[in-house]
Structure formats: structure tokens, C-alpha cells
């Protein structure tokens, strides 16, 4: 008899674009696992669990964050070396480490890096800008979703036709409680 696949291996066997989407939800949006369980079901029609998502995060997200951060740090150092300035190895090591942290944290402090470095070439500056814009767009999307939820909740609260129980049920539904 065929064994039922483990729910965490179900996540690993998602098509690459869906896997990438899931990683973005977990890493960029910092989506909480209970919310991710619901979203994976709604968007992908796949049943999963908090512990499966946790394992998925351990296997996929740490590695991805690290490799993206390392790629960017390498690019910054390459550009710094090409810039014609003779930066000593200690400065380059500092810039490299900071570049790594900026991307790893994804905390929008990338512009700080440009100030710190003051050395990067045009292509690295463009990459910095691109990362900053992408981060900004993702934040706007999250804020828009939250605003829509707040509007819906406001509508429920002011709806005179609903009982208190119905209002509570609708609010739980909106906020997926």
C-alpha cells in the first residue's frame, strides 16, 4: 500500500514557482505559520501544518537568505575593487560583512550600506536600488492587505443588521482567528 507523503515533503514537491512564492511569504512578508497554513490552502489547494512549514523554513529559507546575501556582498566587494580606490583589506572585509547583513536582515537599511561604503560602482548602486524598491513594494502589498482587513472589520462593526455573535464570527473570519 502506498504511504501517504509527509506534509513537509509535499511542500518540497511544490512546483518551483510556488515554492519560491512560499519562501517569499515566509521570508519577505514574515508571514506567521498559522496564516501561511491558510494561505497555502487557499492559493495552492495544499494542506499543510505549522510544523511542516517550520521544517520547510529550516531547509529552504535559511539557505536562500544566506546565498542571496552572500551574492550581493560579493558583488559589492567586486565593485569596490574595480572602483579604482585602494581600499585596505580591513575596509573591504567590513563592507562585505555589512552588505551581507543588510540583505540577510531585509530590513530596508540598504541605503545605509551605500553611505558606509561610499565606494560602490554604478551596477552595485543599481542593485542596491532594485533591492530597496522590491522590499518597498512587498511592504506596500502587506500594508494594503492589512488596510483592506481593517475596512472590512469597520463595515462589520457598524452594520446594524448583524447581532453581536454574527459580528464576532465575521471578525474572526476576516482576521482568520
Amino acid at each position: 500500500m502506498a504511504r501517504k507523503p509527509r506534509s513537509d515533503s509535499v511542500l518540497d514537491s511544490l512546483p518551483p514557482e510556488r515554492r519560491e512564492q512560499l519562501v517569499r511569504w515566509l521570508v519577505d512578508e514574515n508571514l506567521k505559520y498559522p496564516e501561511a497554513v491558510v494561505r497555502v490552502w487557499e492559493k495552492f489547494g495544499v494542506k499543510t501544518s505549522v510544523s511542516a512549514l517550520q521544517k520547510f523554513y529550516s531547509r529552504r529559507c535559511f539557505t536562500l537568505r544566506s546565498s542571496q546575501a552572500k551574492d550581493f556582498a560579493d558583488l559589492v566587494v567586486t565593485e569596490a575593487k574595480k572602483s579604482g580606490n585602494n581600499f585596505d583589506s580591513a575596509t573591504l572585509a567590513l563592507v562585505k560583512q555589512r552588505a551581507f547583513e543588510c540583505v540577510y536582515a531585509g530590513n530596508g537599511k540598504i541605503s545605509e550600506l551605500a553611505i558606509l561604503a561610499g565606494i560602490v560602482g554604478d551596477s552595485a548602486k543599481l542593485e542596491l536600488k532594485r533591492q530597496e524598491l522590491a522590499l518597498g513594494e512587498r511592504r506596500v502589498a502587506v500594508l494594503e492587505r492589512k488596510a483592506a482587513m481593517a475596512d472590512a472589520a469597520q463595515g462589520v462593526v457598524t452594520d446594524q443588521t448583524l447581532t453581536e455573535e454574527q459580528k464576532a464570527a465575521r471578525l474572526r473570519e476576516i482576521f482568520r482567528m
Partner: protein, 94 residues
């Protein structure tokens, strides 16, 4: 008689937390370090319920004392990397 936890005995949660923070550091590429806040936010993603700062700092100190991780103290934060002993611990506690 109720079981009493001594210093050498570790709870399953402490082990989970140690595994989480070592896993975060195990994924950091060679030549890079990770500052404490990023280790903490990473560990918080794989330990449920999310560890408190006190729990996290306690485990960080314990892992440091056990030479599983090594820290470099900077002006703004201490930055960490995994030691060979830390890698061995992770291999023994997958």
C-alpha cells in the same frame, strides 16, 4: 519524588532552541558572521512558541560556554559563527 532538573540536564525546549540557533549559523556562508539579533530572529522562525529574549540569550550563552559557537564582540553587536563542535552537535541532533 518529583524529578529535579540539574544544570547538566536540559529540557527538550532548550535542545530545540539550541538546534535552531545552530541551524541558523550552520547556513551562514564561510567567511561571514551573524549578529545576535539576526540569529535570534532566525531561531524564532523555527521554535514554537517563539522563544523569549531571556530564553534565547540563556541558550546563546550556554552554546558559547560549550564552545559550539564563537562570538566576535563589535561596537554595535556580537557576531557569531558555528564551530566544528557546533557542527558535530548538529549532526548528532538532527
Amino acid at each position: 519524588m518529583p524529578e529535579v532538573l540539574t544544570h547538566s540536564m536540559r529540557t527538550p525546549r532548550q535542545t530545540d532552541l539550541r538546534r535552531a540557533l545552530l541551524t541558523v549559523l550552520a547556513n551562514v556562508p564561510s567567511g561571514y558572521l551573524l549578529p545576535t539579533p539576526l540569529v535570534q530572529s532566525g531561531a524564532a522562525r523555527v521554535v514554537i512558541p517563539e522563544p523569549t529574549t531571556t530564553e534565547f540569550e540563556g541558550e546563546l550563552r550556554a552554546a558559547d560556554s560549550a564552545r559550539l559557537i564563537v562570538g566576535v564582540v563589535g561596537e554595535d553587536a556580537t557576531r557569531w559563527k558555528l564551530t566544528d563542535a557546533g557542527r558535530a552537535w548538529l549532526a548528532e541532533h538532527p
